[in-house]
Symmetry: C2
Subunit: 249 residues, 2 copies
Amino acid sequence: MAYTPVTRLHVDAPLAEGAEIALDAKAAHYLKNVLRLGPGARVALFNGRDGEWWGEVALLGKNGGTVRLGEQRRKPRPEPDLWLVFAPVKHARIDYIVEKATELGTSEIRPVMTERTNVARVNLDRLKANAREAAEQTERLTLPEIHAPEKLADLLASWPRGRSLLVCDESGTAPPIAEALAKRAPGPWAVLVGPEGGFADSELDLLRKLPFVCAVGLGPRVLRADTAAIAALALLQAILGDWRDGRGA
Amino acid sequence: MAYTPVTRLHVDAPLAEGAEIALDAKAAHYLKNVLRLGPGARVALFNGRDGEWWGEVALLGKNGGTVRLGEQRRKPRPEPDLWLVFAPVKHARIDYIVEKATELGTSEIRPVMTERTNVARVNLDRLKANAREAAEQTERLTLPEIHAPEKLADLLASWPRGRSLLVCDESGTAPPIAEALAKRAPGPWAVLVGPEGGFADSELDLLRKLPFVCAVGLGPRVLRADTAAIAALALLQAILGDWRDGRGA
C-alpha cells in the first residue's frame, strides 16, 4: 500500500505536452489555501479523454491559476461500463453513495424515483462535485456521468439492449449474489438499489418479469441502501469486472 | 424489499416473556422525542444473548422508561465469526466503517496502530454507539465487540490459531480478491485494512511471511480505507460467509 499520493485535478481543457492549462478560482483556492502549494508544485491533470499529464503550477491567484504541462503520466485506457441506478436517499448517504460508486469504477450514476422514494429533489451539482473529488483522489482517469433523476419505470421502458440489471432483492427469495454472478458473463451491467422503504410490490413484480434483470440476495441482515449499493458494485467488479485483472496499468 | 421497519432497541437485561425491562434516559428520549412513540407502542428488544422479543412500551419519562415483553420474535442464532482489523481514520470515515462493518455482520472490530497511522486517539464510546445504532437498524441480534486500539505487531504476535487474515494489498502483486477467496474455505476470518498512507514496507514484509495471511488486490483504482474495508467484508460474506445461504431465518 506504500504509494505516494499525487495531487490530481480534473479539468475540461484538452491536455498535451507544453500546454498551459487555466485553473478556475476554486481549483486555485484549493491548491493554494487547502494544500498550501505554490508556483513550481507538481500536480497531475486529467480530463476524461487524454489520459493524465504531469504539470507544474505556474501561477496561483484569487481568480484562478495556470499549470504548465510536462510529460504524460498515464495514457487513456478503457474504463468499466457499469451503471448505478438508485433511489435517492438523504444528504450524507447520497454523498457517500456517489463517492463510493466513483471509487468502485461506476461509469454512470442514475438516480431514479420509485413509488416509495421520499427524497423529492437531488442536488446534481453537489453530486458532481463529490464524484469529481472522489475521482481525483482515487486515480481514476474519468468522471462518472451523473444523470438527472428520472422515473424508474421510464428508465426500464427504454432499457438498452444487452445491459444486465442486478437487482438487490430483500425478499429472501432471490439467489445469493456470489452464486448468481458466478453463472453470468462479463459485459455491460447496472446495479439497482431501492429506497429505504423498499420497492413497492408492483415494482418488484415488474422487475422480476424483465428479461435483463438478475435479482440477488445480499445475506441475512437488512442492509441500508448505501451499503447494498457499495456491496453490489464491489461484488460485480470482483467477479465480473475489472478487479479480475489485478492492479493493471 | 417490502419489509416493515420495526423499532428495535438493544438492552443489557435478560429477556423473557412477561419481563419488565427498564430503559435508560437516552433510549426513552429516543422513543418519545425522536420517534414520537408513547405508551402502548410496539417495539422489539434484543440483548445479544436471548434472541429478540416483542415488547409494549409501558412508560416513558425524562429519566427512563419501561417495556413489558410479550412473545419472542426471533430465537438466538449463530452469527458470523468475522473480525475487522483496521487502522483508525478520521471521524466521519471511522463512524462509517463501524456502521457498515456492523451491517455486514462483523463480530469483532479491532482498531490497530500501524507505522503510518496518524490518528492518535479513538473514541470507543462513539464507536460503540455507532455499532449499536447500526445493529438496531439492520435486524442484527448481537452487537459487534469493539476493542481498544492495540499495536498491529502485538495483535499479529498473538494471532489466534485457525483464523485467516485477508490483507487488502495495494502493491498490485496480490491476486484478485474473488479468485483468491474462491480457493479458500469458510471458517474464522479477519479483514485487515491499512491507514490512508498505506502500510510501511517493513509491515508488508512481515505480513507476507505470516502463514495465516491471504493478501488480495481490490482492482485497478486506489480505494480509500473505508471503501476497501467494506468491499472486502462484503466479498468475504458473499463468497465464504453467511450470504451464501440466502436471507435465512
